[in-house]
């Protein structure tokens, strides 16, 4: 049996490890555009200079040797030929598979604003190659404009402030990290970023660019006419599935590959997992999808069930935040807020069940909230949500594993 996996991100690597556990002697081949296995969530540590290609790796250095996996790095897939069960690579190599997993992830979305798509100093921050390219433009007091104040944008801002760059963040919403934080929690980070020298232009959109003679954006024009000088632009405006070649191969899906609960595509023996499926590709979900795909590729019928994706943790300047749920208040909701010098907490309770929670400053032992939201556990009358802990649902199984007693 030969398993072929395209992509060495969270989904692909988890799948490879799981296939090896289930089938000690099967052949496993991995193909990746990436030259180095790296964690996309840690690219800002590369920009800040705290990590290098080697320390961005999220598996052991001898992963491929130890798991007896053939890895073909720095090569992309040109075509999938399902009738012959093979892949054609950009180096013209042809690889046959018995089972195929497509885990190619996503690429940065580059909005069609001015010369963004073609300029040489405008980047997304998704792959190590992006971070490497950005690296050439990092210099103290160099002017960088970051478009978008989501997690990727703020990660980039944090890293480049550490490198003494002059950082300006442009955000459409009226506050930073608008999807994860409310006004109060966002303000705490904003203060800290501003103290570190970061400038924010909120409620503003980039609308035009001015390019110098060498194909570099040197000015960004905003929708209110403000002009920002820049040496470097980072666009953090979301991602789209990385699937240039795939959908012409008979794979079903519009912008992403459609899969069923078992991570199967419409083509026989072809599976997909992670961002490329258009399902949530956040790290833990991508790992779970990879694991489920692997089990099905090895003949065990398993379903992807834990699809909850509205979750994030944030850690800037030593201030940690946990955010679960949409955080949108509807009519009839109960909003509970608790605040002290170190900590801000807000919970939205809908129909006696926890809908969203935001904890800033102290997230100790807060793992249970995700379970309460995912499983829609009814809360008791008068239950203090911020004092709720696993002690309230405590049960120990015979094998010592905990479980929820409801």
């Amino acid at each position: 049996m030969r398993h072929v996996i395209i992509g060495v991100g969270a989904a692909g690597m988890t799948a490879a490890r799981r296939i090896r556990e289930l089938e000690p002697v099967a052949e496993i081949v991995m193909v990746s555009k990436d030259e180095h296995v790296h964690s996309r969530c840690m690219l800002h540590h590369y920009l800040s200079g705290h990590r290098d290609e080697r320390t961005l790796n999220f598996v052991s250095e001898d992963f491929f040797v130890r798991n007896n996996i053939t890895w073909l790095p720095s090569v992309a897939v040109q075509a999938l030929v399902p009738e012959r069960k093979n892949l054609i690579l950009t180096n013209h190599q042809v690889i046959c598979y018995d089972k195929l997993l497509i885990a190619t992830g996503a690429d940065s979305f580059m909005p069609p604003i001015g010369d963004f798509p073609t300029a040489s100093n405008v980047f997304g921050l998704r792959n190590l190659s992006d971070a490497q390219a950005i690296g050439a433009y990092i210099r103290p007091q160099g002017k960088v404009v970051i478009v978008g104040s989501g997690l990727v944008g703020m990660d980039a801002a944090y890293a480049l402030l550490e490198r003494q760059m002059d950082v300006t963040v442009v955000e459409m919403a009226e506050r930073i990290l608008p999807l994860q934080l409310d006004e109060v929690a966002g303000q705490e980070y904003r203060k800290r970023f501003e103290q570190a020298g970061c400038k924010f232009l909120l409620g503003r959109k980039a609308s035009e660019t001015v390019t110098d003679g060498q194909n570099r954006v040197c000015q960004l024009v905003l929708d209110d006419g403000t002009t920002l000088n820049c040496n470097l632009v980072i666009v953090a405006a979301g991602v789209h599935p990385a699937l240039g070649w795939g959908l012409g191969s008979g794979l079903e899906g519009e912008r992403s590959i459609s899969v069923n609960d078992c991570m199967e595509t419409n083509l026989p023996d072809v599976y997909a997992a992670g961002d490329v499926t258009g399902l949530s590709g956040i790290w833990p979900n991508a790992m779970k999808q990879g694991r489920i795909a692997a089990e099905n590729m090895c003949g065990f019928r398993m379903c992807y069930e834990d699809t909850y994706a509205l979750k994030n943790t944030i850690n800037f300047f030593g201030l940690v935040t946990l955010s679960l749920g949409k955080g949108q208040v509807q009519e009839g909701d109960q909003v509970v807020v608790s605040e002290d010098r170190h900590c801000y907490k807000r919970a939205i309770i809908r129909d006696h069940k926890l809908d969203s929670i935001l904890l800033q400053g102290n997230i100790d032992y807060a793992g249970i909230y995700q379970y309460l939201i995912k499983k829609q556990i009814p809360l008791e009358q008068g239950q203090d949500i911020f004092k709720t802990s696993f002690a309230d649902y405590y049960k120990v199984r015979l094998d010592g594993q905990y479980e929820y007693q409801l």
């Binding site: 833990p284 940690v320 946990l322 802990s389 120990v396 094998d399 594993q401």
Partner: protein, 150 residues
Amino acid sequence: MKRIMIDDSKCDGCKNCSAACMQAHREPAGSIYDLDMSDPKNETRNHILADGKGGYRPIFCRHCTLPECAMSCMSGALNKEKDTGLVRYDEKKCGACFMCVMNCPYGVLKPDTLTRTKVIKCDFCLEADSEPSCVKNCPKKAIWVQEVQA
């Protein structure tokens, strides 16, 4: 694999396990008599909660069969070891994103209080001795180590 088993009905909340955990992981080493329990550097990896009805709930890392913490670790710092079954934590690899804290369904993990750069996580006292020090120091034998299928 070995797991720290818990009989919560025997626990009387004395917190000897927590003190023993602090002592086992303190730096620099010293005797239990000079352990500063109010120093936030000395954090316990387990904790005991009252159930509000006179009983206690010992919260210890389960080194779960399917560990959610390791399944959400974007740096590879948390891994379930094949041979021992223990979920090991590599502080040097950790990216301090704390997705593991959010994803532990039992609320066992926490960021370190002082620096928020690492996770406070049970290591089964592997470096030190044959038996976890919490287990050795429980006067009620409410916790013990047992081989389980996982």
